[in-house]
């Protein structure tokens, strides 16, 4: 079972997940329409790219956008959640050993305590996000069961991973559970709104181009997000 899951099946999951995300990006850009969006993408490409980068960087920076600065508490939770979510699986020692064995190279590995800390951060941040959804009327009205399902799918590999790591209960069981929940998460990326992991960049780039071209850029106004 373990062999199968981490072997051929893993490759299939990666192919579907990353291939699917690539398709989403391509479809996004193919689906832009200068006339319907009212943005002359091609005619003013350099202004557009400037706007796109401005928009992306402002929002990847926790103090780059006014909206982030206005809500420091949420911003902290949001960034902690996403940093943990990305950094842990990529730089985890165990993952990289597997990578080393399978493809012959690995990425820098992070110390175990850091991995633990980041995993806990993801879980705590996830709880905070859920509580926020319940507590704030303006978020509650937007929240659907689908949103909770997405959070569950996202946090499950971390919960199972930590249980396995601390060797609570049946190690083999939790290790398999970790692999399976991780694969579910990967498979969901292109097909659910978790696709925002790439579409965020697309959407930001598009709006940044809109501002960089039509809504100020051509007038020499650097837009402050």
């Amino acid at each position: 079972m373990y062999e199968l899951l981490t072997g051929p099946f893993m490759w299939l999951v990666f192919a579907i997940s990353f291939g699917g995300l690539l398709v989403r990006v391509v479809l996004y850009f193919k689906g832009l329409s200068q006339q319907l969006d009212r943005v002359a993408y091609k005619a003013h490409l350099s202004y557009g790219l400037k706007g796109a980068f401005n928009s992306i960087f402002s929002w990847l920076n926790p103090v780059g956008a006014r909206a982030w600065r206005k809500k420091p508490g949420f911003t902290l939770v949001f960034f902690a959640f996403h940093i943990g979510l990305l950094a842990t699986p990529i730089f985890l020692a165990a993952h990289n050993i597997m990578l080393q064995e399978n493809v012959g190279f690995g990425l820098p590995q992070m110390p175990a305590f850091l991995a633990d800390l980041l995993s806990w951060t993801v879980i705590v941040a996830c709880v905070a996000i859920v509580l926020r959804r319940i507590a704030l009327p303006e978020v509650r009205i937007l929240t659907t069961a689908y949103d909770y399902l997405m959070l569950l799918i996202t946090v499950a590999p971390f919960v199972t991973g930590l249980i396995a790591r601390y060797q609570m209960g049946d190690y083999q069981f939790w290790l398999l559970a970790h692999i399976i929940t991780g694969q579910i998460w990967l498979l969901c990326l292109p097909f659910t709104k978790l696709s925002h992991c790439v579409l965020f960049f697309c959407s930001r780039a598009q709006l940044g181009m809109d501002y960089g071209i039509k809504r100020g850029g051509l007038k020499g106004s650097t837009f402050s997000w």
């Binding site: 689906g31 319907l36 002359a40 005619a43 303006e138 106004s221």
Partner: protein
């Protein structure tokens, strides 16, 4: 499929239909008919499939439901932060639902959408700046308005407004003759005080072609006279076209995209015909947005630009002051606290934030200009944007919407507000009428004329 006599899916294309709809006092019959209007669900879905491309589709899909956009919306703020006013909720529960249902929605739902689209969003595009994903509800509401319009679910005044544009190519029944006569009349009147002043119609190859808002010739012809005075004093070689002089677009507020295209082409034709070096419009935000910012796309222009450089009035004015073509008498500068309304339509939508402040630096005594908070591209809508000002059915909601601007103005402590946008000007006037906070408001033209340092002999004092 009962379509009403007044309320139906056909745009108003004839004078007769226009008069008939107008004669229906406050749209009583029109709204009664709307209760019975069938939704052509197949056409609705077909339109969505054809026009909803990756941008809006993705926005609907990836919205994180995080609520970060909530207090970016002034309507959420002034309506006691009710969750129904959260931008994301407003769009998900209208456009989002129609898309989810593949267009299979009923009359009642469409009427609900109409109410939300025209009374809970002014398409001010502010929320788009506060959403981590860059989701702009203003853009989506414009899109939704287009869908609603095509199905006949549009407020009475805007159906008429876009009908006016279709029949008269102006937002009011000002014909070519009326317009040219108004120009002649204003030139004659003004010339007594300003010898040599003319309002040249259809002059070829001028430096500037001037376009305006039909309400000016109709209701405030002095605005045209003021523009003429400033061009005259600045020694500008200018002209107005006999056709294609109206640059506003109520059809944009109505979501009548076909009509938008027709109108803007009319103005562009005038540009091609008269071949001016540049064009400038009046102090109107939505007119500028329609003709200069969005218009090129309606017209299908690849570079997204009008046929000739087309600047907003504030740009022309700042330039004339900068180059000394217009001189301000320092003794006459404003010496009282004064604030400035940043119009969403050319500030947030075109970045013209510094140029207005440059004008103020010439006309306000240092130390008297007080900024609103927030300001520039983060400024709030005046409260009456996107057609909200003109819709009788939603007057009550509009009056509530004005409160944000009221608070912003009160916070500055100023009694004078400069509003270089027709619609903002109207909203601020209504705000004073409704809440009586003791403020005055003004366009730039009359203020500047009152402060000019005029060369000897140019003006005859009576």
């Amino acid at each position: 499929m009962p379509q009403g006599k007044l309320c139906n899916r056909q745009p108003i294309n004839t004078d007769e239909q226009l008069k008939l709809t107008l004669s229906d006092k406050s749209g009583k019959q029109y709204y009664a008919e709307m209760q019975e209007l069938d939704v052509d669900t197949n056409a609705l879905w077909a339109t969505i499939q054809k026009t909803m491309k990756s941008r809006i589709k993705t926005w609907l899909e990836i919205c994180a439901h995080c609520g970060m956009c909530a207090d970016s919306c002034f309507l959420y703020q002034v309506n006691d932060c009710v969750p129904e006013q959260v931008p994301s909720y407003k769009i998900q529960s209208t456009l989002g639902h129609i898309v989810k249902k593949k267009g299979q929605v009923d009359n009642e739902f469409m009427r609900k959408c109409m109410k939300i689209a025209w009374s809970q969003c002014t398409c001010c595009n502010r929320c788009g700046m506060y959403c981590p994903h860059g989701i702009d509800m203003g853009v989506m509401f414009s899109y939704l308005r287009g869908l609603l319009y095509s199905q006949g679910f549009v407020p009475w005044e805007l159906k008429i407004g876009s009908g006016m544009h279709r029949v008269y190519r102006a937002q009011m029944d000002v014909t070519t003759e009326d317009w040219v006569e108004t120009c002649e009349w204003m030139a004659e009147e003004t010339e007594e005080e300003w010898p040599g002043l003319t309002i040249p119609v259809d002059k070829q190859d001028a430096e500037i072609m001037y376009t305006c808002n039909a309400r000016e010739p109709k209701h405030y012809p002095e605005d045209l006279a003021e523009a003429a005075v400033l061009f005259h004093v600045a020694g500008t070689n200018w002209t107005v076209p006999s056709e294609g002089w109206e640059q506003t677009s109520l059809s944009m507020f109505a979501g009548d995209w076909e009509c938008c295209k027709d109108n803007v082409n009319h103005v562009y034709d005038a540009i091609e015909r008269l071949n001016p070096a540049r064009v400038t419009g009046t102090e109107c935000g939505h007119a500028h947005r329609a003709t200069v910012i969005e218009g090129p796309y309606w017209a299908g222009r690849k570079d997204g630009l009008p046929p000739k450089p087309y600047i907003h009035y504030v740009e022309w004015l700042a330039e004339a002051l900068r180059e000394g073509k217009l001189k301000i008498d320092p003794a006459k500068r404003i010496k009282e606290p004064v604030t400035l309304q940043d119009s969403c339509n050319y500030v947030r939508n075109q970045g013209l934030k510094d140029v207005t402040r440059e004008i103020l630096s010439y006309i306000v005594e240092p130390g008297y200009f007080v900024e609103m908070a927030p300001n520039k591209e983060h400024n709030y809508c005046c409260g009456g944007g996107g057609g909200f000002n003109g819709i009788g059915l939603y007057r009550e909601q509009r009056n509530v919407a004005l409160r944000k601007k009221m608070d912003q103005i009160l916070d500055t402590g100023c009694k004078l507000v400069i509003a270089p946008c027709h619609n903002c000007w109207d909203a601020i006037r209504d705000l004073e009428e409704e809440y009586e906070i003791g403020i005055r408001w003004s366009f730039l033209k009359p203020l500047i004329i009152g402060m000019l340092d005029i060369p000897e002999g140019m003006r005859v004092e009576w």
